[in-house]
């Protein structure tokens, strides 16, 4: 089985860790060996939360610069910041709804233009799927489901050795019972958005 390496970047509170757990569970269902790495602690206080997930027969749970097959960005400037993990073949999926860093809100930094972000990503990677995942999450029922919208888009690319059914099954068992229907709707909206964008 081919090894596939996925990097997910988000700002603390965007639900990156839950998305990792759903994907890890789906890998178990598909009987795909999986190793994941995440950083806790200071990151949860408004910093960047990065998860690395390695599917297939590898030993190391972390992904070096240039080694990611997939980059999933929950926030556009964070996607840009993680570009060093990508290579010319990497597929990038990014949410386009920004969460300006604190340095911007106190006037000590400038948030890059959305067009600039997209152009830079396209220039340095294989392909880009970009859309407003927050808007779709609101349509599904809550902005809190942005993470699952993005997981939907990720699965649509077909790059990971995971079936759509396995991820839906994982959403049913890993997310809170009250939010399962909303999350399944969010997953579907993300899946369709990626199909439309491709």
């Amino acid at each position: 089985m081919d090894i596939k390496r996925l990097i997910m970047v988000a700002v603390g509170g965007q639900g990156n860790l839950l998305a990792s757990k759903v994907l890890g569970e789906a890998a178990l269902i598909c009987k795909v060996p999986v190793r994941m790495s995440e950083i806790h602690g200071m990151a949860q206080r408004g910093g960047v939360v990065e998860s690395a997930i390695v599917f297939g027969d590898a030993s190391s749970p972390i992904i070096s610069d240039g080694e990611a097959d997939l980059l999933l960005g929950f926030e556009p400037s964070e996607t840009l910041r993680a570009l060093n993990r990508c290579n010319k073949e990497t597929t990038v999926i990014t949410n386009l709804a920004p969460l300006p860093p604190f340095t911007v809100s106190i006037g000590r930094g400038v948030y890059p233009e959305m067009d600039t972000i997209q152009a830079l990503i396209k220039e340095r990677t294989g392909s880009l799927i970009a859309f407003d995942a927050m808007e779709l999450a609101i349509k599904a029922g809550s902005p809190m489901s942005t993470n699952i919208v993005l997981v939907g888009a990720l699965i649509q690319t077909g790059i990971l050795p995971l079936t759509r059914e396995s991820v839906e099954q994982a959403i049913k068992t890993r997310t809170k019972p009250a939010f399962v229907d909303m999350n399944l709707a969010a997953f579907n909206l993300g899946f369709e958005a990626a199909a439309g964008a491709a």
């Binding site: 700002v11 569970e25 178990l28 206080r45 408004g46 910093g47 190391s60 749970p61 604190f102 809100s105």
Partner: protein, 609 residues
């Protein structure tokens, strides 16, 4: 933890907990600290789900106390373990060093989680160096699964040689997830039976010398213990002149890198399971077989140090491997490629500056810091380890050394300055940290009449590490009711006569109290203000709604930016043209403190909807 058939996806810390419960462990203790915090809650969860009645699980007030409690269970014959982060081992180092001499009865594991990077720590210290200093064997897992397996191995090693055994995972093991084949949980069945032997358990110096000699004999045996011997990862390659020796998570990276660079046929790859004591036969063999040996390990060169042949060994001492920071795969790849005489495919890019962490919107610490700066604007602000370290963003934290130092450093400054030149000195310390290491320092300040004010930031929890209970909470790791210690009474018991408990969310009142307290301490010696307001993360939604106060920015706001730079609440956002500030309603907790922050009165209580 998720279960599909017999495989579970587990965090490294959960895997360690699983290992303890699969090995009949009867006591587990800890003090929370990243990256080790999740071990004990996972043991507690298994105690409940598997009804492990013979297993005692508890948070302790600090790592030294946690160590001593678990160690006693071991000398009463039961398997036991204590978990902490690497700097926690500094706190527990006194019993750690001594327990090596006295030894154990039931298997005893010290799990000390290191944090190369560092991601969430004060230092990058290597716990394995402590093990070497104490003369205790240490096991170095490369993955969650190996960490789980090392628990049973460690217990057997510990029992065979009657010695404490350290397991040293790093952040990349603790916070990695992996699918693991689970084994059966085995409840411990050993009845406590302490056999008195004062010559050992209460050894005086003369006996200690004898025990030290016995310890050396044990180490010689451990250095040939078959099950912890280094493993050759590519036995088919034969005996090339070059060898790479790896341990811990560096071993996981190295396996992938050697495959990807396709150099497995020209270099022998060895994984060390037990970095100290390094197996004697292994040392002899590789120094005999190979002429060029590269050692990759985190963070200090422990294995390298024991392979004492400078002419053959490359590593941190020779300058081939960085002595600081994590050995990330891209760094290792470049080193391995050069060592093997091949091209590296990795390109190391300059890191892009990251987001800086900040206190949550509505955090009571922010309110306390704002008020302290207002009340004592020219003060020296000593602080401590916890979420409130982030008060440095607000200019309200000048020093952070280690747990408990806020009080002693404040006292030191007070004694260093003379009476005329001494600025107000305000120490801030969280409730959990005060219990952990603040009490002795406060007693000292009382005895010396140090003119300092201690503000105890009492949010009723250990927030930074994930809201574990403190001794004041009255709830234990299992969620059950336990006794609670009253902070104000404890402060008074230390000899403090000026102690007031105040709500920091009442900004004006709080500033007045701090001013009064600073004036008092100047004349009379130490005083304490307990700033009490619960952490938002441990409040229920109903509790948060109850205190919610809508705030609005009036049209008078001129975008001066005072609130964003002096209060730094993530819910206050200055627009891109610096014209006005807006409230991000999705982040605002409705604490209402910013109403008192705006110098122009442009942030106002909103109409109730």
């Amino acid at each position: 933890m998720t279960q599909i058939n017999d495989r579970q996806l587990m965090l490294g810390n959960e895997a360690l907990a699983r290992g303890l419960c699969e090995s009949g462990c009867q006591m587990a203790t800890a003090y929370p600290g990243t990256p080790a915090s999740e071990i004990l809650p996972a043991v507690a969860a298994l105690k409940k789900s598997e009804t492990l009645e013979s297993l005692h699980v508890q948070w302790a007030v600090n790592e030294k106390v946690a160590f001593e409690i678990a160690y006693a269970a071991s000398i009463a014959g039961q398997r036991s373990a204590v978990a902490m982060k690497q700097v926690g081992l500094n706190v527990a180092s006194d019993p750690f060093m001594s327990a090596a001499y006295l030894g154990v009865k039931g298997g005893f594991l010290v799990i000390s989680a290191d944090d190369p990077g560092p991601h969430s720590s004060q230092t990058e210290q290597d716990s394995r160096l402590y093990a070497m200093s104490a003369k205790i064997p240490v096991l170095d897992p490369d993955s969650p699964e190996q960490a789980r397996d090392m628990v049973d191995l460690g217990f057997r090693l510990s029992e065979q040689f009657e010695i404490p055994v350290m397991i040293r995972p790093t952040t990349r093991v603790c916070h990695a997830r992996q699918d693991i084949q689970i084994n059966k949980v085995i409840p411990g069945t050993v009845e406590a039976n302490f056999e008195k032997n004062p010559g050992r358990w209460a050894a005086t110096p003369k006996f200690r010398f004898k025990l030290h000699n016995e310890l050396e004999a044990k180490l010689a045996g451990i250095a040939s213990f078959e099950e912890t011997a280094p493993v050759r990862l590519n036995p088919d390659t034969g005996k090339p002149s070059k060898a790479i020796v790896v341990a811990g998570v560096s071993a996981a990276h190295a396996r992938d890198i050697v495959n990807e660079l396709d150099v497995s046929d020209r270099v022998a790859l060895y994984q060390v399971i037990q970095p100290y004591p390094l197996h004697t036969a292994f040392m002899d063999e590789i120094l005999e077989t190979h002429s060029d040996i590269l050692v990759l390990e985190e963070t200090t060169g422990i294995i390298e140090m024991q392979l004492a042949r400078r002419d053959k060994v490359k590593g941190k001492q020779s300058g081939h491997v960085p002595r600081t920071g994590e050995l990330l795969p891209e760094i290792m790849e470049a080193i391995i490629a050069e060592f093997c005489g091949t091209e590296s495919r990795s390109s190391i890019m300059e890191p892009v500056p990251g987001r800086r962490p900040t206190l949550c919107a509505g955090c009571p610490h922010r309110a306390s810091f704002f008020a302290i700066k207002r009340a004592a604007p020219k003060g020296i602000y000593t602080s401590d380890i916890g979420c409130y370290t982030l008060g440095m963003n607000l200019g309200a934290v000048d020093t952070v050394l280690c747990m408990g130092a806020a009080i002693s450093q404040a006292a030191g400054f007070a004694h260093a300055y003379n009476d005329e030149k001494r600025p107000p000195i305000v120490a801030t310390m969280g409730d959990s940290t005060f219990f952990h290491a603040g009490v002795p320092a406060l007693i000292d300040a009382v005895v010396q009449k140090a003119p300092i004010l201690l503000v105890i930031l009492d949010n009723r929890t250990t927030a930074m590490t994930g809201n574990q209970p403190t001794p004041a909470t009255g709830i234990d790791v299992l969620g059950e009711e336990v006794a609670s210690v009253d902070i104000a009474k404890l402060v008074e018991g230390c000899g403090i006569t000026y102690c007031k408990t105040v709500d920091p969310m009442d900004t004006k009142g709080f500033i007045t109290h701090i001013k009064e307290a600073v004036a008092y301490t100047k004349e009379n010696g130490p005083g304490v203000v307990i700033s009490r307001s619960p952490c938002l993360l441990s409040m229920s939604k109903a509790q948060r709604m109850e205190q919610y106060q809508k705030v609005e920015v009036s049209d008078d706001c001129d975008g001066c930016g005072y609130c964003v730079s002096h209060f730094e609440c993530p819910a206050l956002v200055l627009d891109s043209d610096n014209e006005r500030v807006d409230i991000d309603a999705s982040l605002c907790s409705g604490c209402g403190v910013c109403v008192h922050v705006c110098p122009k009165g442009s942030i106002v209580p909103g109409l109730v909807n």
